[in-house]
């Protein structure tokens, strides 16, 4: 049966030559880069990001744009099902075509990646900005500032966010959709970040080295930026890595429900929704965006999870 771990026993004798650990950095990345799951995830994400960034060139290469109809690829006699086996997969259409209008699924996946990534990354940046700022403020200032921010966080976290997002998004039909999505996603997500940052800031503030810095003559701002912030960077990187897939998934979910990205702009969630009536007759139309969505989210999650492990163990893996 499992008895105390060796790490614990090391503590008993205080044997670890340093008791603490080196701050993780390059060595941490090296450690996780040895794991096959991380390598596969990174490779996949590189491909998807590449597709997203170079979407126009990629589709030029594949030959079909995301909005181009190809009536020659569908069979009007069957109600618009793609011609040929496997949903019309051919040299022309690598992932087949959509039923009825014959749009190229590959091109729509590529452009969908672009939309998803853009929204997710912007939302992550905004969430981190708000979350870290307010979390630090709450954790460091304490008192009424903390009380106000904490109440606000409680309030937003008590909100049935998805229903609310759907309601707001459906209520405001005009304007810049992606921007609106970024704003709404961030509005309900920053409290999670802020909560973690607040907790960390509070515990770091109580660590002796912060007091030591005060004794050295550090002012408030110096304490926050020079002493506390470097110790939060790991947490923030991990949270950001894990926020990206959440946003990709939520954006896709909202688009699936018809309140996200508006057609004809392609989005993976929207593609899944469009495929629902066809899933029995043209399963590939449904499966391709679903699998891409899953793999992207999964890869980001694996990456974030591994980073988290490395940071939690202090770079020793």
């Amino acid at each position: 049966m499992a008895v105390p771990s060796s790490a614990q026993l090391e503590e008993v004798d205080g044997q670890a030559p340093g008791g603490g650990s080196k701050p993780p950095g390059a060595s941490a990345l090296k450690t996780i880069l040895r794991k096959p799951s991380v390598i596969f995830s990174l490779a996949f994400l590189l491909i998807v990001t590449g597709m997203a960034v170079f979407a126009p060139w990629v589709t030029q290469l594949s030959g079909w744009g995301p909005l181009q109809f190809d009536e020659s690829a569908v069979d009007s006699s069957t109600g618009g099902l793609p011609l040929g086996p496997w949903g019309g997969i051919s040299a022309d259409h690598w992932f087949g075509v959509e039923p009825q209008n014959g749009r190229d699924i590959f091109a729509r996946i590529v452009y969908g990646a672009r939309v998803s990534m853009l929204i997710a990354i912007c939302a992550t940046a905004l969430t981190m900005l708000i979350g870290v700022t307010l979390g630090m403020l709450a954790g460091f200032a304490g008192g009424w500032v903390d009380a106000v921010i904490s109440r606000l966080m409680d309030f937003l976290m008590a909100f049935p966010a998805l229903i609310f997002m759907i309601a707001v998004l459906s209520a405001v039909p005009q304007g810049n959709r992606p921007l609106l999505l970024v704003l709404v996603l961030s509005l309900f997500s920053w409290p999670q970040t802020a909560r973690v940052v607040r907790g960390q800031a509070m515990s770091i503030t109580n660590r002796e080295f912060v007091e030591a810095a005060r004794a050295s003559g550090a002012g408030r701002m110096t304490l926050v930026f020079k002493e506390v912030l470097p110790n939060l960077s790991g947490t923030v990187i991990v949270m950001a890595t894990l926020a990206v897939p959440t946003f990709i998934a939520t954006e896709a979910g909202l688009s699936f429900l018809g309140v996200g990205v508006i057609p004809p702009t392609p989005s993976w969630g929207q593609m899944i929704a469009q495929a629902v009536p066809w899933y029995a007759s043209h399963p590939l139309f449904f499966a391709v965006p679903g699998i891409f969505l899953f793999l992207t989210v999964f890869s980001f999650t694996i990456l974030g999870d591994n980073l988290q492990k490395v940071w939690a163990s202090g770079g020793r893996s």
Partner: protein, 277 residues
């Protein structure tokens, strides 16, 4: 009565996949005697005690012999060791707060140790716990059994740990830095209590500490350890009055004493308004 030692450790070597932590350590404890294991951090003294209890992590490789009441302990199955632990040999740890589970009353935790070996009802277990707490001089034991660890002071918590160790009347008590986390006045009380307990039960004791002054008071025989090896072994009197090893001597010299006369620089007592600006 036999003159055979109750605990005999011969050439004990403990190795982890990365490093050896204890190297060929040998000592024995006679019936009712006390062996003090003393050393600084990293000396392997705690590992040695855990090896006796069979509490080393799985990845540890142990060789040598540990015989307890003429029975070989090394190589025993976990199930066999479990029957011994808490029953015939018990352990007291350094930090009583973290060594007690915050979620259960102290009575429950003491009774648990009893019932694991002797069975019986929950109520009978609690009665035993009250008795054990009485023995370690916790006042109002019948009320205090229902309290949680955080409701006790540091010294009282250590008494609870001792009560837990005593509840099955063990033949061997292993005390791993039992007073290190305590204030001096409390330390004195706990040391006194341990001596009384040993007197009344006749149990042997393995006492682990980094504090030479403490070990000089509790142990008949002392083993000085460093980097996993035995540096010197002998009676307390031998070690303290005629240390043969350099390291022992250094350690003794470094230990601060209440009657040391260390020279200090003279303070500068500046009269008001003189050279000072």
């Amino acid at each position: 009565m036999t003159d055979k030692p109750m605990l005999q450790v011969v050439d004990l070597t403990i190795a982890f996949p990365t490093a050896a932590v204890v190297d060929q350590v040998s000592f024995e404890i006679p019936q009712g005697g006390t062996m003090g294991l003393v050393g600084e951090s990293g000396s392997g003294k705690s590992m040695t005690s855990l090896a006796v209890m069979g509490l080393l992590p799985r990845e540890a490789r142990t060789t040598g012999r540990i015989s307890f009441m003429d029975e070989e302990l090394l190589g025993r199955s976990d199930r066999q060791m479990r029957r011994l632990r808490g029953d015939r040999m018990a352990m007291i740890f350094q930090d009583p707060l973290s060594s007690l589970n915050p979620y259960y009353t102290v009575g429950f935790q003491i009774a648990e140790a009893y019932r694991a070996h002797r069975g019986g009802s929950r109520r009978a277990g609690l009665r035993r716990a009250v008795e054990a707490m009485d023995r370690v001089k916790i006042v109002d034991a019948d009320k205090r059994v229902n309290h949680y660890p955080h409701q006790f002071s540091g010294g009282m918590r250590q008494r609870v740990m001792i009560a837990m160790a005593l509840v099955c009347e063990p033949e061997l008590i292993i005390a791993d830095e039992p007073t290190t986390a305590l204030d001096v006045t409390v330390q004195a009380q706990i040391l006194e209590l341990l001596a009384e307990v040993q007197q009344s039960t006749g149990a042997g004791m393995l006492f682990i500490t980094h504090d030479l002054a403490v070990v000089s008071q509790v142990s008949d025989r002392i083993t000085v350890m460093r980097h996993g090896r035995t540096v010197e072994q002998g009676t307390a009197e031998q070690i303290f009055s005629r240390p043969s090893n350099d390291y022992t001597r250094q350690l003794l010299a470094a230990t601060p004493r209440l009657d040391d006369q260390v020279d200090l620089p003279e303070p500068i007592l500046t009269p008001v308004g003189s050279e000072d600006s």
